[in-house]
Symmetry: C3
Subunit: 162 residues, 3 copies
Amino acid sequence: MGMIERKLEDMGLVLPAPLQLPAGVVLPFPEVNIRGDRAFISGAGPLNTDGSLAAPFGKVGSDDVSVEEAAHLAKLSGLAMLAGLQRSLGTLDRVTGWVRAFGMVNSTADFTNQPAVINGFSHLILEVFGDEIGRHARSAVSMGALPMRIAVEIEAEVMIAL
Amino acid sequence: MGMIERKLEDMGLVLPAPLQLPAGVVLPFPEVNIRGDRAFISGAGPLNTDGSLAAPFGKVGSDDVSVEEAAHLAKLSGLAMLAGLQRSLGTLDRVTGWVRAFGMVNSTADFTNQPAVINGFSHLILEVFGDEIGRHARSAVSMGALPMRIAVEIEAEVMIAL
Amino acid sequence: MGMIERKLEDMGLVLPAPLQLPAGVVLPFPEVNIRGDRAFISGAGPLNTDGSLAAPFGKVGSDDVSVEEAAHLAKLSGLAMLAGLQRSLGTLDRVTGWVRAFGMVNSTADFTNQPAVINGFSHLILEVFGDEIGRHARSAVSMGALPMRIAVEIEAEVMIAL
């Protein structure tokens, strides 16, 4: 077991199973695409531990999803990204540095607290990997809509050891 | 003629002419920006073979544009991206690996089938380049709006041979 | 003083102080994340020279913000990005090439002139750095909403000298 995997266990965190695709959805691309010493994580939504999409669904800023719920969904999106990295890399210890994260919130048109939502992701990454490996450039913004009514989706790039 | 160019010909596909800018629109940046062994493709919309923007325009999820039409527009955006790469690289055979694609749909606020739209792009890239060179990390999301009412826009990064 | 800093001075441009965070906003990530010879600039909004967020706020395409005002805000976002790069790099002369910029406009759902808005950024970068170092791949699109009602936000990647 890698050091990062042990850290996750110490934190009581469980990585989810691979995404269970809703009926009729085809995703012809890898969850993580490795090119040289860079790994690109496809846009990831929040998952339950069995790989099903995590509720609540809909727009942050409406009655659908509160900011606190959305921040938790951003953390779950982060755990789904770690699960994908682990499947691709064997161990998360191969992550040598987070590069960039693009945090996408499904919100109403007048929502303004995207940072508080995506902080659920950033705090997870910093706690798991520490400040040096975990630091990442970030944008936290709202989209017009997200697939399957998920409330949060995040894509990212990390550096890896070969 | 490169092997990829021959493949496109075998598939009956024609790369479009450069974007014919609508009156008054100024785009002070290259369609492809090469830095070392990486080529960055600026956000590209769907083009007709003469380089004019391809219809239909407007929001997917409304009467403007159906999912099937939007998937075709995503394929046309992909062909526009290949045309830009070919102009920049001389031949598409210099593409050694797709890295990342960010698929942007101009949709209503309650649209949820962005993956089916951007699959029009992904299937093209995989068929033309094959699974190893063509594989790409991907997000498929909706924007608040897109320039000139285009229904789809995609940006991407590829690795290239020097 | 670096050559780029002198150029900014000759142009009469002043780089803003670091972002003054509105009360209650926590941003647990760096404004610039350096990984090897690449520097990633977190999503940056328009700042006044004291580091406060620059008005007008709200949606381009409504009475809130005109296209001309938004283009100026995109320029101010660019200056905020340069300020962040300077703090991280010591001097802007270490920027060896702009790579990619993702220009995000907070607009109404039927706005179509995102390029004119983000041109305020692109023209600044090209004038300050010249065509070779300044050229960048670009997307200019509208988001569903932006944090703190800012009208423009831009993220980017640049190559740097070590």
